[in-house]
């Protein structure tokens, strides 16, 4: 194996680390005037990472199996990098006003690198290292509006709950080591399930993951953290961070704990049903749009868990497909929220009344995004959600499917509330007309294009399935 191969396996991480180092050096002796250009360069380096992930995928292992590069991992990293790119683009206006915006990028790139290592890990220690790298800067990001009390509070909540869940996860991993004598995924996969203690270990690991993906009953931190954090960070938490956790959770289940499938299908189905139902019921009562989106994202996780429980090549494809669509639809919604929060500082659903009168294009984009989250055609969310359900149905999960279908009705109620506020409700002092900057406009156009096109073009789904089929 030559050094070229080493680089090509870890190329995404290396690019990120290079950007990070350059940023640090730039920060020391920088020319402030050039900063806006630097920021755009970083944005496009993220896009570059995403493109690099999708083209020329190579497979192989590094460091004696600690780091595994697969086509699947490359695709997942590509989706996450692309989502991070969209978030940075839409956060541009907000960041310009912030005094320390270079730090935002440093932490964000560190988080992303951590997620990449987590996804590519072939060993529990590597996995844990990536997880922590992805968590601790994220808590700092949540507290990034440090002059605001809510933001600091959100950062503290984030770090405490993350530490708690990491501890649980570590505890589970220690049990695994005790029973298997190895922390390599491949070794554990062969032995897991043979001892009763594996079940306990597995329970702890599931609980740890459930924290990260905010599945019920480990969801309590979500809404508070989301509400306090700055909007772009909330977007990052709900899309990139959640997506990464789901990816890792799924691949761990399918590869490491494949032997114990009998015991986790039922557990995860139950968690799925409870998560979507509770998320729905809580989302109905929210007044703040950020809390609302937090609970709606909990519901979406519930739907995703159906595909996780189904555990087939179809369901794995649907899962990645759904997250891709979720990136577009949720970031579309967050981009609108971010623009409005940046210009007017308003973050309540009531403030969106008569938005269509003053800002028709923002209202239409928000409507499309919300419909995509609700799974209404012709948006891509319809296809994404339907395929998740279909993958569950093709494994014969009858009652889960029926409950999930009924949950779609409940969720329609609160998604329609947003639409109603924007189109129907009258308000004396509607929000002023907002002029979009170029980067915001690009984000919104990409999101709308994604929302409308990803569903109709079956090539997207077929492309993902070329990677997922044959994994198991």
């Amino acid at each position: 194996m030559n050094w070229m191969e080493y680089i090509s396996f870890m190329r995404l991480e290396l690019v990120l680390l290079a950007v990070l180092v350059i940023l640090l050096i730039w920060k020391v002796g920088s020319d402030e005037a050039l900063n806006p250009i630097v920021i755009q360069l970083i944005n496009f380096s993220l896009l570059g990472v995403a493109i690099l992930a999708f083209c020329c995928p190579v497979e192989g292992t590094l460091f004696g199996g600690m780091f595994v590069a697969t086509k699947m991992a490359a695709m997942q990293k590509g989706i996450l990098a692309f989502a991070a790119f969209l978030i940075c683009l839409s956060a541009n206006e907000w960041l310009k006003k912030h005094s320390n915006y270079l730090e935002f990028y440093m932490m964000l790139i560190a988080v992303l690198a951590g997620m990449f290592y987590m996804i590519s890990s072939g060993h529990f220690l590597m996995f844990y290292l990536g997880l922590e790298l992805a968590t601790i800067p994220l808590a700092a990001l949540a507290a990034f509006d440090f002059e605001k009390q809510r933001s600091s509070e959100s950062g503290v909540k984030m770090i405490l709950s993350s530490a708690f869940s990491s501890a649980i996860l570590l505890f589970g991993i220690s049990f695994i080591y005790g029973s298997c004598g190895s922390l390599y995924f491949s070794d554990v996969a062969q032995r897991a399930g043979s001892e009763p203690i594996d079940l306990i270990a597995f329970g702890f690991i599931i609980a740890g993951f459930a924290f990260k993906i905010s599945a019920v009953p480990f969801h309590l931190w979500t809404a508070d953290v989301y509400e306090g954090a700055p909007v772009p960070v909330t977007a990052f938490l709900s899309v990139v961070s959640k997506g990464a956790a789901i990816f890792v959770f799924t691949s761990t289940l399918y590869s490491v704990f494949a032997g114990m499938q009998g015991s986790w299908t039922l557990i995860i189905s139950v968690i799925a049903v409870v998560t979507m139902t509770l998320g729905n019921l809580m989302a109905m009562r929210q007044k703040s749009i950020k809390r609302f989106l937090a609970f709606s994202s909990i519901t979406q996780v519930g739907y995703l868990l159906i595909a996780v429980a189904a555990a087939s090549a179809q369901s794995y494809t649907s899962l990645i497909y759904f997250i891709l669509i979720y990136v577009f639809s949720n970031l579309g919604a967050f981009a609108v929220v971010s623009v409005i929060s940046d210009r007017t500082g308003k973050e309540n659903i009531g403030d969106y009344a008569s938005l269509y009168k003053s800002n028709p294009s923002l209202a239409i984009i928000m409507t499309l995004a919300v419909f995509s989250l609700a799974g209404i055609p012709p948006t891509a969310g319809f296809f994404g959600k339907l395929f998740l359900l279909a993958s569950g149905a093709s494994e014969g999960m009858v009652w889960v499917i029926i409950i999930a279908c009924l949950n779609m009705v409940i969720s329609l109620y609160y998604y329609l509330r947003i639409v109603k506020a924007m189109f129907v409700d009258k308000r004396e002092d509607p929000l002023a007309q907002i002029k979009l900057s170029h980067s915001e406009l690009i984000t919104l156009v990409i999101c709308v294009a994604g929302i409308l096109a990803t569903g109709f073009f079956s090539q997207v789904f077929d492309h993902i399935s070329t990677v997922t089929f044959g994994v198991q």
């Binding site: 339907l386 639409v419 079956s458």
Partner: protein, 501 residues
Amino acid sequence: MNLTLLIVIPLITLLGIMLTRSAHAARVTALVGSIVQLGLSIALLILYQQARTEGNDALMLFEVDHVWFEKWNIHYHIGVDGISVAMILLTSFVMVAGILVSWNIATMTKEFFFLLVLLGTGAFGFFISLDLFTMFFFFELSVIPKYLLIAIWGSGKKEYSAMKLALMLMGGSALVLAGVLLLNYQSAVGVPGGTYDIMILSTMKIPMEAQLFIFPLIFVGFAVLSAMFPFHTWAPDGHSSAPTAASMFLAGISMKLGGYGCLRVAMWLMPEAAREYAPIIVLLAVIGIVYGAFVTLHQKDIKLMNAYSSVSHCGFVLLGLGMMTLTSTTGAVLQMISHGIMTALFFAVIGMIYERAHTRIGSELGGLLKVMPFIGSVFIIAGLTSLGLPGFSGFVAEMTVFVGSFQVTGMFYRICTLLGCMSIVVTAVYILRASGISLLGPVKNPEYLKLGDAKWNEKAAAILLVSCIVIMGTMPWWLADMVNASSGVIIGNIPLMQAPE
């Protein structure tokens, strides 16, 4: 004929409406688009009849089949039989009339016509789909426009009604979705990976146990749309709050999606279960008919009256379907078309009256026939169609349902049929009373003497729908034969009723 045109034309219209700059341009675009679509539907009818007379006896004509999502075995599969052709005709007539009637919408004109055409697009796509996934896609597509049409342009407690309607219809479609997915799961026994194709599923024998579970999901899911008792409560609220054109679309097109879905999906694909559940369907249908009729008697608001009478009339559709004889099923389809056109006409006229008199309470009107003779006469024509006067379409349709229902032996079915027949008398009472109070007699309010008669657009809409009613009432055979041949295929699958022991 390329059926995809039926979706492409509305899509082009939608695009055109989006690009227009003025309100006038938007409505002209919508009208032109819908007239082209009407022309296309008539051409489809002629081509279909030609193909049939030439002896083409394939189940579906003009089929197109493209693979869409290969991994899920989802196809873009379209095709029409007699029933779908009839439904497409109905949809395009109602669409033209609805757009004509709402010519003077003042607020957010562009958006209004956009949503109307979007609703129509969903309906057209639904009627031509032969793949359950594509069908469901179009079915859902038509839910949200209704919400927005009512919530933005409606009157009265519009937000409540719109939300109630959206949630109930969405509940229906959730049941349908669950049913469709489970049907796909069941089909995996015969086709690897399962199929959504209606044509393949109809030839497949789905195990009885599964049928008994899935049939109610799909049937009830669709029947919510055609206001089956006890899932009818969205209809009165929705209709009474909706703007005129939305009421016309809702009753004329959208409620028909339900009946069509019950027949095409539930009954065709799960015939054995349909037979098992027949008594329950008939019972609920009759309750709907009788209950709807009596509730209508108590309505003072003429729009609400028509909304409740829709519940009663749609009960005839379900009664015809539930009896499951060839004649009764054909009657049910005819009733869907007749009721679609009649009710659209009724809502249009009521809208015209309301626009002028600013009240819909029957007793506050009076003597309107003198003031606005055109509108008054159309009101009476619509009323007479509703109560089933021979010569109009209502008679043909209801008569066929009753004749078909009487062919079913058994005490229970006989009683149900009789009860259904007798409700016609109640219909006559409320229709004649409403016409009498609001149209005949002296003009109660002197202000009304200043009111004008129908304008060109309203006349055009009314004449279009009235001519449909008369053509269908006097020459029903071409339509009936076409529908009969196709419903024969569906009914042929359903096992005969076992003789009572």
